[in-house]
Amino acid sequence: MSDVHVPRLASGVRLHRDEVRARDVLLFPEGALVLNDTATQVLAFCDGVRTFDEVVAAVSELYGGADVRDDVAELLAGIRDQGLMDRDDE
């Protein structure tokens, strides 16, 4: 079961470290989405080069080889539903 689409932030969406509130956010037109630590880790791997499979592998390594595939898929789908991510296969 391989998935080689490349997830990436939509154009005009930026990952930002909000130092004042000690958290990471996605910034986009007129808004901000607060990220938890896991979301930040996953998005850091969504560099527009890594495929979904490679993102999953990189995250899994951070968690001692745990099966994180479903969690990563769910997280990215949630961000995509808000129009903040694109896939290269659509």
């Binding site: 509130r21 956010v25 910034l27 037109p29 901000a32 129009g83």
Partner: protein, 382 residues
């Protein structure tokens, strides 16, 4: 700001850090829209009084350290600033997400690649009507073709585009065409904001106020078009206060989210607050943004609920923390009392006067509507 914007208690007790800085870079504008929300006192404004590049750069740095995430570069017309590229870079360096709020005149198309390279994130272009002649007439300047050209260039460059339209009697029947136009330009967001009666819109209220039927039909069309375009176009629809019976929160609550800076550097919690006579206008040339936000009497004046009187103080709908008593400027304008409940609220003892005013304005027949008083900074045009 979206509802998922971060809300965290900050320095002072219960005072959150600000999220938005609205930088009005110049009051001068190539357009003359009769509903402009700028104060009417801009007549005779001199550009020599505008903040210098260094001032803005320093203030943007302070804003970033205060936790501001969104920067609106607006006016008047921000493109009249020759240093706009430098200001975009200053905003980016301060960590803020920047939006250029513009008429697209005089030269947005030409400057876009440079602005993008300098760090600009997002462009919001106003359109007055989907019909060229009407758009130019309402804006008081030939501008429609340049706006469309610039909008297409924004999308070509891969930047997010928002189209905004201020709605009133002369363009509410055009909402469907305006939505189709925004979609065809590749906009991701469309702000359809019915005129709020502040600034120049107050002067032109009898000319601009739509009929109730227009507002109702407009809302229907918006709902149909939302279904048609789905998530490809985010359509915001803002009703005019005057047709409602519960108030809107002023700027999400007085001094809870935003700082507005006028072109001379005076700081206020909302754009219309300049109409409140005894409010001290602190300038960023003399005070830090930090002190203005946390410690100034102006920004603290209507925070919380202690300042409220009845019916707000004992609101039966428990809306003190939802609408914060509504708009302070409107309360002052219609009741003479700055701490009164916004008379849009049906619980306000002054609500009847607002309804009477609305009825009077709605009774104005089309042929009796006054001509626009066009917004201008030039006394000669008057």
């Amino acid at each position: 700001m979206t509802s998922n914007a971060p809300q965290v208690a900050g320095q002072g007790v219960g005072i959150p850090y600000p999220l938005l800085l609205v930088a009005e870079l110049s009051y001068v504008c190539p357009l003359h829209c009769p509903y402009c929300s700028n104060p009417t006192g801009i007549l005779g404004t001199k550009r020599s009084t505008e903040l210098k590049t260094d001032d803005w750069t320093r203030v943007f740095g302070e804003a970033g350290k205060l936790g501001v995430l969104q920067l609106a570069l607006t006016g008047g017309e921000p493109l009249l600033r020759k240093d706009l590229e430098e200001l975009c870079t200053a905003g980016r360096d301060a960590g803020m997400y920047s939006t250029l709020v513009t008429s697209a005149l005089p030269n947005l198309t030409e400057r876009l690649p440079g602005l993008q390279a300098a760090g600009l994130d997002h462009v919001q272009i106003s359109i007055q009507h989907s019909n060229r002649e009407e758009s130019d007439r309402i804006g008081g300047a030939v501008s429609y073709d340049k706006k469309l050209e610039a909008a297409r260039r924004v999308v070509e460059l891969g930047m997010p585009l928002t189209i905004n339209v201020v709605l009133h009697r002369d363009n509410l029947d055009d909402v469907g065409e305006l939505i189709d136009l925004a979609a065809s330009l590749g906009a991701r967001r469309l702000e359809l904001a019915n005129t709020q009666y502040h600034g120049w819109a107050t002067v032109n209220r009898a000319a601009l106020l739509p009929t109730l039927e227009q507002v109702t039909r407009g809302e229907q069309v918006v709902n149909e078009k939302r279904a048609q375009y789905g998530s490809s176009l985010d359509i915001l629809w803002v009703l005019p206060d005057i047709f409602e019976d519960l108030p809107k929160p002023c700027m999400g609550g007085w001094a809870s989210d935003a700082i507005i800076l006028d072109p001379t550097g005076r700081a206020l919690p909302c754009q219309s607050a300049a109409t409140i006579p005894d409010l001290e206008h602190l300038s960023v040339t003399e005070h830090s943004l930090f002190d203005i936000w946390f410690d100034s009497e102006t920004f603290n004046r209507f925070r919380g609920t202690d300042w409220m009187q009845d019916p707000c103080q004992t609101c039966p709908l428990q809306r003190q923390h939802i609408d914060f008593g509504g708009c302070r400027c409107q309360a002052l304008a219609l009741t003479g009392d700055i701490t009164a409940t916004d008379p849009v609220c049906h619980l306000s003892p002054h609500h009847g006067a607002l309804v009477a005013k609305r009825e009077e304005l709605l009774a104005v027949r089309d042929e009796d509507r006054p001509a626009y008083v066009y917004r201008t900074t030039s006394p000669a045009r008057g």
